[in-house]
């Protein structure tokens, strides 16, 4: 039921872990299926994500979409990262079974939460966070 890409990312997830001196941390939980994702980012002087690590509690689809999202976000500017959408991860994985699509909704919110945390800590404002509500949860 899963594509080879999903299975590969589930078995060998990229960028798992923590960053002790992270510039931003975001954690998102999905009440619908109990999945939780936490993202740690390092941001360089040009506001580019130079490193990203994640931790995910969840099913195969949640782990795989977290992993593929992490590979897509490293090297992106903050403004680009704020344009990341869950469907980008879904496409990169070659799709998910319909009933599992809702398990791939963590990364978009987790990266926004991490960037919001970074903006709070750095005092920088980002256009993509204009209407962001930090308490928003699925």
């Amino acid at each position: 039921m899963y594509t080879d890409k999903v299975l590969d990312h589930f078995q060998n997830p990229r960028n798992v872990g923590k960053i002790d001196d992270a510039d931003g941390i975001g954690e998102i939980g999905s009440a619908q299926c109990g999945d939780i994702m936490k993202i740690y980012i390092k941001v360089d002087e040009n506001d580019v994500i130079s490193d990203l690590k994640f931790q995910t509690y969840g099913c195969g689809a949640a782990v795989a979409s977290s992993s593929v999202a992490s590979t897509m976000l490293i090297g992106k500017s903050i403004d680009e990262a704020l344009k990341f959408r869950n469907r980008d991860a879904l496409e990169a994985l070659g799709g998910l079974p319909t009933e599992k699509v809702h398990c791939s909704v963590l990364a978009e919110d987790a990266i926004r939460a991490a960037i919001w945390d970074y903006s709070q800590k750095s005092g920088k404002k980002f256009e993509g966070l204009k209407n962001y509500e930090p308490a928003a949860r699925h």
């Binding site: 589930f10 109990g34 939780i36 509690y57 969840g58 195969g60």
Partner: protein
């Protein structure tokens, strides 16, 4: 879901591998004794009608019933639907109340929900943390309006065994009939319908190393059950349709084999599930055994792991060639976790990490040890990935 070749099958509560002796008993029904049991001419050797009645007698003898109390069906689900819906409607004159439990198989629960939509008053009994029904609540809820009590013999997800004889007694004291879904229990427990006070019972062949698509309903002769499927005189005009002769022959053969070695089967399963429970609960942290610690199906070992999600565990096991199952929300296809775990009061967060390992005839102690070793690695890997484990 399967992501590789299954080398160790440990999902025997879902279905079982058909025994070779069963396949061999069935094969002649396809090409030699393929006649329609309703036809009056005879094929060489045993005719189909005799084969069916032979299976009927095997099943009747095994559960302490008369052979004319056994009706063949297309499986456990049909048996449950037939028993519940027919009895409820037949006895509507007695009253509108029907009693079941919150942890029944969906074949039972959905049958009752359909009756609820038709205006019946259904009581879904609570269970305790071990999954046993609340007998006090049953005594309080049952009244003279109650026509049927239906409680499963052994739960398919957590293995908890219900005190069916006691439940039957309470039902009878109040003039109600007692039905039990014994699909998971057949072949693993000694079943005696008269001693246990069972009026109707559902069985299935594919859980006992027989073929899929065939089951049986036991109906005590005192109950003149209404037919559920119309269109012919088969099964004494109670269940129309040309009989599934190969399936029925396979069902009979599977039960005959198992009945002859019930003690060995129980002991073999118990030894393996005990080892699973002993090793998993002592070698892995933050795990709970679900279901009753002693009153349980000999083949079912079910657990909830904290900080590791059930579907992810199943996938890891699959990669190692092991099949098992989970009641995690991520696999039930609904928003919530398994209704059985919910009814037992297990929180959603804990039940996300549920795993059921169900051993059977073909499993070995060596396989059990391999499964535990793989499981330990999986739990360690998944917890290392989890933000909950910091």
């Amino acid at each position: 879901m399967i992501v590789g070749e299954i080398v160790i099958y440990m999902d025997n509560s879902a279905t079982t591998k058909v025994r070779q002796e069963v396949v061999e008993a069935m094969l002649p029904c396809f090409t030699e004794q393929f006649g329609n049991p309703s036809s009056i001419y005879h094929f060489s050797g045993a005719d189909a009608g005799k084969l069916i009645n032979n299976s009927r007698e095997i099943i009747a003898k095994c559960i302490g019933a008369k052979s004319n109390e056994i009706y063949f069906t297309a499986g456990g689900t049909e048996s449950d639907n037939w028993a519940i819906r027919s009895v409820a409607k037949m006895l509507r004159g007695k009253g509108n109340r029907l009693i079941t439990s919150k942890i029944e198989h969906h074949a039972v629960l959905h049958s009752f929900q359909a009756l609820e939509d038709e205006g019946f008053d259904i009581v879904y009994l609570d269970v305790n943390e071990y999954g046993q029904v609340d007998l006090e609540q049953l005594r309080n809820e049952i009244n003279e309006e109650t026509s049927l009590v239906s409680i499963m013999m052994a739960n398919n997800e957590v293995g908890t065994v219900q005190p069916v004889a006691e439940i039957a007694k309470i039902a009878h004291e109040n003039g109600a009939l007692f039905h039990t879904d014994a699909v998971q229990a057949l072949g693993s427990f000694e079943i005696d319908v008269s001693r246990m006070g069972i009026d109707l019972a559902s069985f299935s062949a594919h859980k006992i190393y027989g073929p899929k698509g065939v089951g049986a309903l036991y109906v005590n002769n005192k109950v003149n059950i209404e037919p559920f499927i119309l269109g012919g005189a088969q099964e004494r005009k109670k269940r129309a349709g040309t009989e599934n002769v190969p399936g029925i022959v396979g069902f009979g053969k599977a039960l005959e084999l198992l009945d002859g070695e019930l003690e060995f089967h129980q002991k073999h399963l118990r030894e393996m599930s005990n080892l699973l429970i002993q090793r998993i609960t002592s070698e892995i942290d933050n795990v709970v055994l679900t279901g009753h610690p002693s009153e349980r199906h000999p083949g079912i070992a079910s657990f909830c792991f904290e900080f590791a999600e059930g579907e992810a565990i199943i996938l890891d096991l699959n990669f190692a060639g092991i099949s098992a199952s989970t009641g995690s929300a991520c696999t039930t296809g609904s928003a919530g976790a398994s209704h059985v775990l919910q009814a037992m009061g297990i929180s959603d967060m804990i039940s996300h990490g549920s795993l059921r390992l169900s051993v059977g005839y073909f499993n070995t102690i060596e396989e059990v040890n391999t499964v535990v070793d793989v499981l330990k690695k999986s739990i360690k890997r998944l917890r290392k990935m989890s933000p909950l484990c910091d």
